[in-house]
Amino acid sequence: MESTNFVWDLMGRNLGGVLIVISLPLFFVLLYALIAILAELKISAWIQERLGPMRTGPWGILQPVAEVIKLLQKEDITPDQSSKLLYNLAPFIIFTGAYAAFAVIPFSEAFVPADINLGLFYVFAIGSISAMGIVMGGWASNNKYSLMGAMRSVSQLISYEIPAAMAILSVVVLASSMNMQEISRAQGGGFWNWYIFGGPGTWTKIWVVPFTFGLTIIYFIASLAETNRVPFDIPEGESELVAGFHTEYSGMKFAMFFFAEYANMFVVAAVLTTIFLGGWNSPFGDFMQGPWWGSFWFILKSFVVVLFQIWIRWTLPRFRVDQLMYVGWKVLLPLSFVCFMAISLFVMLK
C-alpha cells in the first residue's frame, strides 16, 4: 500500500468528496450541452424566421435528447485503412482536453474543483490538447479532407492563441494573479469593477477602459476561433471539406466530438466571464451576492456569452483561409499588443 499512498494523500484522504467534486462539473456539462444544443437549434430557427423543432415534447424541448439517442444508436464505423488506435483515441482526447479545463473554473466563491495559483495558465495550456485530438482524428482517419481540416485547425489555433494569450496576460497584469478565484474576487462590488470596464480602481482607470473593452472583444473573437465555430469553422467547412476532421466519425465517437465542441464553448465562455465579466460576482455590489447566487451569476453570464457565440454563428459567413490569417496576424495580434502595452503602462504608472 505504500506505493499508492501518495494518490490517497493527493485526494486529501477523502475519496467520496473528490468524486463528487469531479463529477459535479460533468453533470453540469451534460445538462448544459443539452440546453446549448436546443438553444442552437431554436436560435438558428428564429433568426431564419422558422419555428425550429416543435414535435418532440412541448415546443420541441426534448429534441436534443432525441438527437443523443439517435447518435447512440448509429453504427460505429472505423475505416479500414485508418490508424485504429489513434482514430479511436481522438474523440476521447478532445473531450478530456475540454473537460480538464473545468478543474479550475470557479463556479462560485465556494466551489472550484482545484484552486490552483496558475489557473489561467492551466486553462490555456489544456485548451491546446483539443487541437491535438483534432490532429489525431484528422490524421488517423486516412482521409485527405480530414487531414486538411486538422491542419487548418492547428494553423488557426496557433494564429489565435497569441491574441487570446495577450488578452489574458493583460488581465493578469491588472490583477497581478493567475488564480481564477483571486481574479474573480478582485472584481467584486458592482459591474463597474469588472475588468471589461478596467477593473477596480479610482477614476483614473478611465484611460484603460477602451483597451480592456477592446481586449474583451479580441478575446471573444479569438475564443470563437479556438472552438472552431463560425465564422472561424474552416477546419470543418462543409462546403469545402465535407465535414473536416470528423468526416469519418459516426455514432458515439461523433457524439464525443460534438459534445466536446459544446464543452469547449462553455470553457471559453467561462474564462471570458471570469477574467472580464466579474466571474461569480453579482453585477450590483452586495445585492444577490453569495456562494449560491455566485454560481447562478457565473452560469448566467457564461450562458449569455454562449448565446453570443450562437448568435454570431447564425449571422456571419465563414472566413476564407487567407482572410482568417489576415484577421489573426494583422488585426488581432497588433491590436492586442497595443492594448497590452497600454495596460502595462497604466499599471506601471499607477
Binding site: A45, Q48, E49, L51, W311, T315, V331, L335
Partner: protein, 190 residues
C-alpha cells in the same frame, strides 16, 4: 495606415450591422405553418379531388368526352318506364338514365377541370380535399355510382323486358304475322 484602420473598423462595424439584423429577426413572426395543425387557406379556384353529385348526373357522357387523360369511366342504362323505382333530378326533371358506373382514376387525373366545365348539370365538382395519397395505386380508383350491382342487374333486366315487350308490340302492330319468340325474355333475364 489610415486605410488599415478603416478596413478594421468597417469589418467590425459591418458584422455588428449583421448581428443587429439577425437580432431583429429573432422576434419577427415566424413563417412556419405547423402543417397538420394549421393549414393554408386554399384559393377560391383551387382544383383538388373531384366529387360527383349523383342526383344531378344525367349520364350524358360529356365529362368522358372532355377528359384529356381518359380517367373517367361512365356506363349507363336507360330507365325502364315499367320500373317502380323512378327518380327525379335535383332540377325537378325525371331521371332518364341510370348511371350504373361512374368511376374516376385519380392516379390518372390531371386536375384540369375540363369535366367540370363540360358538365351540363353541374354534377361534377372540385373539392378542397387534397390529402388522399395512398400506398396502393388501386386505392386511388374512386367509384361514385350509388346503385348496388344487384340493383344494376335488376335495372338491366327491367329494361330488356321492356324492350322485348316493346319489340313484340312493334312486331304485332307493324308486321302482325310472326309468332313472338317465347325464349327471348328468358335469355334477357340472364
Amino acid at each position: 495606415m489610415i486605410q488599415y484602420f478603416k478596413n478594421v473598423w468597417s469589418g467590425f462595424s459591418s458584422s455588428l450591422v449583421g448581428m443587429h439584423i439577425t437580432f431583429k429577426h429573432l422576434f419577427v413572426k415566424k413563417v412556419t405553418i405547423q402543417y397538420p395543425d394549421q393549414r393554408f387557406d386554399l384559393p377560391q379556384n383551387a382544383r383538388n379531388r373531384l366529387k360527383l353529385t349523383m342526383s344531378r348526373c344525367n349520364g350524358c357522357n360529356s365529362c368522358v368526352v372532355a377528359c384529356p387523360v381518359n380517367c373517367i369511366l361512365v356506363e349507363t342504362v336507360r330507365v325502364s318506364p315499367d320500373d317502380p323505382h323512378q327518380e327525379v333530378h335535383d332540377n325537378g326533371k325525371p331521371r332518364i338514365m341510370w348511371v350504373t358506373k361512374y368511376e374516376i382514376d385519380f392516379a390518372k387525373c390531371c386536375y384540369c377541370g375540363l369535366c367540370m366545365q363540360a358538365c351540363p348539370t353541374d354534377a361534377i365538382n372540385h373539392t378542397t380535399e387534397y390529402e388522399y395519397s395512398e400506398y396502393d395505386r388501386n386505392k386511388l380508383y374512386y367509384k361514385f355510382q350509388t346503385l348496388t350491382p344487384e340493383q344494376v342487374t335488376e335495372k338491366e333486366r327491367l329494361l330488356a323486358e321492356f324492350k322485348a315487350k316493346d319489340k313484340d308490340k312493334d312486331c304485332k302492330t307493324t308486321a302482325a304475322k310472326a309468332d313472338p319468340k317465347p325464349t327471348k325474355p328468358d335469355q334477357a333475364e340472364k
